[in-house]
């Protein structure tokens, strides 16, 4: 790993942050509506505010939020807040945005990382078996089934699953992360409740992504089997299991592992739709709530948080590439 490569990747990471913060700064200012005016008129409509003094009030509030300052100064102030992780407070109940984010992120990370790892393991084993000529035909029975599933959007599968397993044949809960009557503490009841609530959202993701991992592994495995060392292992009279696992799977799996690293790195941006459909209290659902209630601070906070952590995760993955798979030639990758 050379310094130039690390520096390039780091610059990319910085650029992503700058773009993210700038977009977040610009977007609300692109709208011609004045959020303070909107909010005040809203309050006035509910009564209790003297409409005649409205202009004065707007000025006072604009000063309070620093909106009367020139644009470049606002931009610098905005950066200042972001660096201190001060994303403002939510409109709904004035809790700091960062607290809301920290409360939701573990749900997203927990559910999606488990789903991703399960799909990865099942898909990779499946793909390897598919490419292996001595595999029995029974494995191939699943191919059309899994290929079909992988073509279906996960949220549509989610809708079908809710109807099938929660309404038509009610064995699983429809929404939320744990049951209403369960106290959120470390107890067997709580753990079981969390698992039963995660089965459907995680299941919809697992089922629709097994095919993706399987196809990738199958392709790599076929390529690997054309290599000379596979022939050599066979002529040496090694046991088939050994050839399959230590020579075939082990070499074919490396690109899969980098794929897994990327998938795990991008988990936070994960699946807004699955969370909304299953009312799962993760970041995606929080973003949806923010949008529905026009909560700009919350929206901006989530966006910056997700973009920056994602950029950082991908930066780390980029640095790990050469360690995971020494065959990757950095120079080649760059050219």
């Amino acid at each position: 790993m050379n310094a130039e490569y690390v520096l390039k990747r780091f610059l990319l990471f910085l650029a992503v942050i700058v773009v993210a913060v700038s977009i977040n700064f610009i977007i609300p200012r692109l709208r011609d509506t004045n959020p303070i005016k909107e909010r005040l008129y809203q309050l006035a409509a509910q009564g209790g505010v003297n409409v005649g003094k409205m202009e004065e009030m707007i000025e006072v509030w604009e000063k309070k939020f620093g909106l009367d300052q020139p644009l470049w100064k606002q931009y610098i102030n905005y950066w200042n807040d972001v660096i201190r992780l001060d994303f403002g407070k939510t409109i709904a109940d004035f809790t700091p945005v960062i607290n809301e984010i920290m409360r939701s992120a573990p749900w997203t990370i927990g559910m999606l990382s488990v789903a991703t790892v399960i799909a990865f393991v099942v898909g990779t084993v499946f793909g390897a078996l598919l490419a292996w000529p001595k595999t029995g035909n029974f494995v191939k029975i699943f191919v059309p089934f899994l290929m079909t599933l992988s073509a279906i959007p996960y949220y549509l599968l989610g809708i079908v699953m809710i109807y099938t397993f929660a309404i038509y044949w009610p064995i699983l809960p429809t929404s939320g992360a744990y049951g209403f009557g369960v106290r959120p503490e470390w107890s067997i009841e709580m753990v079981l409740s969390v698992i039963s609530h995660a089965i459907m959202p995680a299941g919809s993701i697992v089922l629709t992504s097994i095919g993706f991992w399987g196809l990738g592994m199958r392709g790599m495995m076929i390529t690997t089997m054309g290599e000379d060392y596979m022939k050599f292992a066979e002529y040496k009279g090694l046991k088939e299991n050994r050839i399959f696992l230590s020579y075939g799977v082990r070499n074919a799996m490396l690109p899969q592992v980098t794929g897994l690293a990327i998938s795990l790195g991008t988990i936070l941006a994960g699946s807004v739709l699955v969370e909304v459909i299953f009312a799962y209290p993760g970041l995606g659902n929080l973003l949806y709530t923010a949008i529905s209630s026009n909560d700009y601070f919350l929206m901006q906070g989530i966006m910056i948080f997700v973009i920056v952590s994602l950029g950082f995760a991908l930066f780390v993955v980029d640095l790990l590439y050469p360690l995971i798979d020494p065959r990757i030639n950095l120079q080649e990758q760059q050219s």
Binding site: I27, I159, I167, A269, V276, I291, G311, L314
Partner: protein
């Protein structure tokens, strides 16, 4: 004869194209027989099960579900096609510039594309769509295209880089053929399969994104689309009320569309990577 041989050799591609044509014709032919007004609010009594008058029943606001799907499918396809053609078009052009000229231009374009590849596209689309007040299907397509050009860029650039070194391009260059002529006469014809594969992939991605955005209620609300139908399904709790005639048809049509596109991609993949053809 060549076409016949291709159909026989590549059943996956053929099956995919047939499925896709079926979905497209469903919208086109359906619109000859079904009045547009039936897809509007209040065309029938709300939430009625299928009957002779309403083949697939009606939704909570009295739209005829069959008419809604017939007019919604082309809407969704339109979003996908606009996004795919604009996105792949821009990506291909940038890929050519990047790969053919190299140097600083190449570095700059690749840097921008790397930034775009790192940001969470769907999340940004969700926020942008929520900030745009009035939206049409065309606008949504363009919005998705703005974030969907990087794949085509990568593919085109990689191909141009390898082609640039091939003998026939070098010969053309030495003969004094100008850049544009080389690009259009020598390179583009060889790139067509890759551009086609990019188009199919981008269409699937765009339909996926547009469905998601519309299902969240952030897409166009005044033109029928499948995503909008799904939004109403979720909004009125059609699942818990077991109104299967309302929520199953849009899902089935979309699943058919995605399977069709998937089979086309797999088929094109076999043309591009013949090694995968041998097994399974």
């Amino acid at each position: 004869m060549k076409a016949l041989k291709l159909i026989n050799d590549n059943r996956m591609l053929t099956a995919g194209i047939i499925t896709l044509i079926f979905v497209i014709f469903f919208g086109v032919i359906g619109s000859w027989f079904v009045d547009r007004e039936r897809a509007d609010v209040g065309a029938g009594r709300p939430a009625q099960p299928p009957s002779l008058d309403h083949w697939l029943g009606t939704d909570q606001q009295g739209r005829d579900v069959f008419a809604d799907i017939v007019y919604g499918t082309p809407g969704t396809l339109k979003i996908g096609l606009i996004a795919a053609f604009v996105g792949v078009g821009v990506g291909t052009i940038l890929g050519f510039i990047s790969g053919y000229f190299g140097g600083y231009i190449d570095n700059f374009i690749r840097f921008i594309s790397d930034v775009f590849m790192t940001i969470p596209v769907l999340m940004i689309l969700i926020v942008l769509a929520s900030l745009l007040d009035v939206m049409s299907n065309t606008m949504l397509g363009l919005l998705i295209a703005a974030f969907g050009w990087m794949g085509a860029l990568r593919v085109t650039r990689a191909q141009v880089l390898t082609m640039r070194e091939r003998a026939y391009i070098q010969v053309a260059k030495l003969n004094g053929v100008n850049d544009l002529e080389i690009i259009f006469k020598e390179m583009i014809p060889n790139l067509l399969p890759f551009i086609a594969a990019s188009l199919v992939g981008a269409s699937a991605g765009a339909v996926l994104a547009s469905l998601g955005l519309s299902a969240l209620g952030l897409g166009p609300q005044n033109e029928p689309s499948i995503g909008l139908t799904i939004f109403w399904v979720l909004h009125y709790g059609a699942l818990i009320r077991e109104l299967w005639w309302w929520f199953m048809p849009p899902i089935i049509v979309m699943v058919l569309l995605f399977i069709g596109l998937f089979m086309i991609t797999a088929g094109l993949d076999r043309i591009a990577n013949p090694r995968l053809r041998t097994k399974v």
